[in-house]
Subunit: 314 residues, 2 copies
């Protein structure tokens, strides 16, 4: 329905190069080039600055780009809305997520929703914390399952669940018997750390500003799965929300000791949506389901059992 030039323009801006964009679009670069030139002629201003290594949007280009992307997003949402008129929800849901949610919790939710609504497709991306704001505000994603942080602007929290960041370790670790820990108490014990530490940076700076002591990470990685194996093999303590390690904790393979620092003990995971954005039917569906499942985990999120318990299953 929408003119091809919208897609062309978007791709050119993304790739910073007409030829790259044409390649990604599987059309001749000359075709893309001419569409851009025609568009600039129509607008009466240059939309790109031609550099030696490609193109870069001008101020006018940025403005038009925002309109083009908003149009494409709204079109997808409208298509999903129309397709869902028949009763069966369909369309794509785009979610950005904490990696810890992504490796254990979300796959299950996606599986359940997917089974009941086979025409819904899912795009679930782990995002670097520094990109959360942009990822949400760009409109490319429907919502995020993230730590609630007052620093986020232009974002609405439509559901939130308390959780606690804690020290994750083997049951035979010296600190495994504690009911809570401060970061200072972890000094001296080897720790493993995510490369993007998110909350920890600020807290650690505060905690150790006087003593000069520091946690010395023995292992640093950006992969939660790698950390999981490292912690299970006893290489050190990791700092995580329990949500990504539900099974290990339940089976008693790992122990989660909440941190006493207020900013960490009272962490909240929330569903965040760009403000003023209309949600597509599949996005609403998915949000409902996630809220429901997170609600069922509420006790576990806030204070996971220290010893595995048998639970009745329905």
């Amino acid at each position: 329905m929408h003119a091809a030039v919208l897609r062309y323009f978007d791709h050119v801006a993304r790739h910073g190069s007409i030829r790259k964009a044409a390649d990604a679009l599987s059309v001749a670069s000359s075709a893309v080039n001419r569409q851009i030139l025609r568009l600039e002629d129509e607008m009466g201003v240059a939309l790109f600055e031609r550099g030696r290594s490609g193109v870069r949007p001008t101020a006018a280009g940025e403005l038009l780009l925002r309109h083009v992307r908003e149009t494409q997003n709204e079109y997808q949402r409208t298509r999903a809305e129309i397709a869902s008129l028949g009763g069966t929800v369909s369309g794509d849901v785009r979610i950005i997520s904490l990696e810890s949610m992504l490796v254990r919790f979300l796959p299950q939710v996606v599986d359940e929703v997917s089974a009941r609504h086979p025409k819904v497709t899912f795009t679930v991306l782990a995002v670097h914390p520094s990109e959360i704001g942009e990822a949400l505000r760009s409109g490319d994603n429907d919502f995020g399952v993230l730590f609630v942080d007052a620093r986020h602007r232009g974002v609405d929290v439509i559901a939130e669940f308390p959780t606690s960041v804690g020290a994750l370790m083997r049951p035979d670790h010296p600190l495994a018997g504690r009911k809570s820990l401060t970061l200072t108490e972890c000094v001296g014990h080897p720790v493993v750390m995510l490369q993007d530490r998110w909350l920890l940076d600020a807290i650690m700076a505060m905690e150790f500003s006087g003593s000069g002591a520091r946690l010395s990470p023995r292992v640093v990685s950006n992969s939660i799965e790698f950390m999981r194996q490292v912690i299970r093999s006893g290489l050190g303590i990791g700092f995580f929300t329990p949500i990504g390690f539900i099974e290990e904790i339940r089976r008693g393979e790992l122990v989660h000791v909440p941190l006493a620092e207020p900013g960490l003990a009272q962490s909240r995971i929330g569903i965040l949506v760009p403000r003023y954005r209309r949600l597509s039917p599949p996005a609403r569906l998915m949000i409902n389901h996630i809220s429901e499942r997170l609600g069922a985990f509420a006790d576990f999120l806030a204070a996971p059992p220290r010893r595995p318990k048998r639970r009745n299953r329905g």
Copy 2:
């Protein structure tokens, strides 16, 4: 930039007929028809119900229609934004207004803004009160200069000015010497009325519910200009804001006696914008100017002088 089918689709929905739309678009009806058919094929659902006297959007058509119109509006706004990058503001401002503002106040403001910003064009429409909500929310208009009314939903008031609805009459009218009036006191005197009475209906129902007395309009019209002449010739009392009769009141040709009814004495004129709508540069410009000029009239709006005064002009 945008595909022609957007305009076709919009026109067909507006005219309720493919041939009428094609006529308005100055293209062959077959072309429009094929575009609509192709669009329905692309969407996979019927967008119009074919009746014997034309077409009517289906539920899916309504959804797509909203997207199409929003896209067109946003495109215009974006173009205005880009055109204004060069320093000179340009683009179209679409304003809906009380008729009383439209006949005296707004022409002057438009004249001033137009003189300073020759590339700005203006669309100023008087709207029937019953259509205000729809006219604002449709996104077809940038803002409204209207009575502030809590009944409006999805509308933000970004500036407001107190005014008072009052009885407008010749200086030689028996009631012209009063400092304020109730509607009941007007019973027995001939009155003239706008056909769309807006605020008056509710107030009158309340005022006269006990007594059974009624104002008997001698003249009813939907034209303020007609009312102006009728009142000046002494045919009766009219009920208006002073804003449309500034000159007559200043020259002493008419007298404005505020009504004592709280709902009318405390009326407010405001600049109303659809919530969450981004304003185009010319719209922002126009709003600033209107606010400034209305602010200068603030004393006059709330309590116009009973006798003409000489004022210093800058």
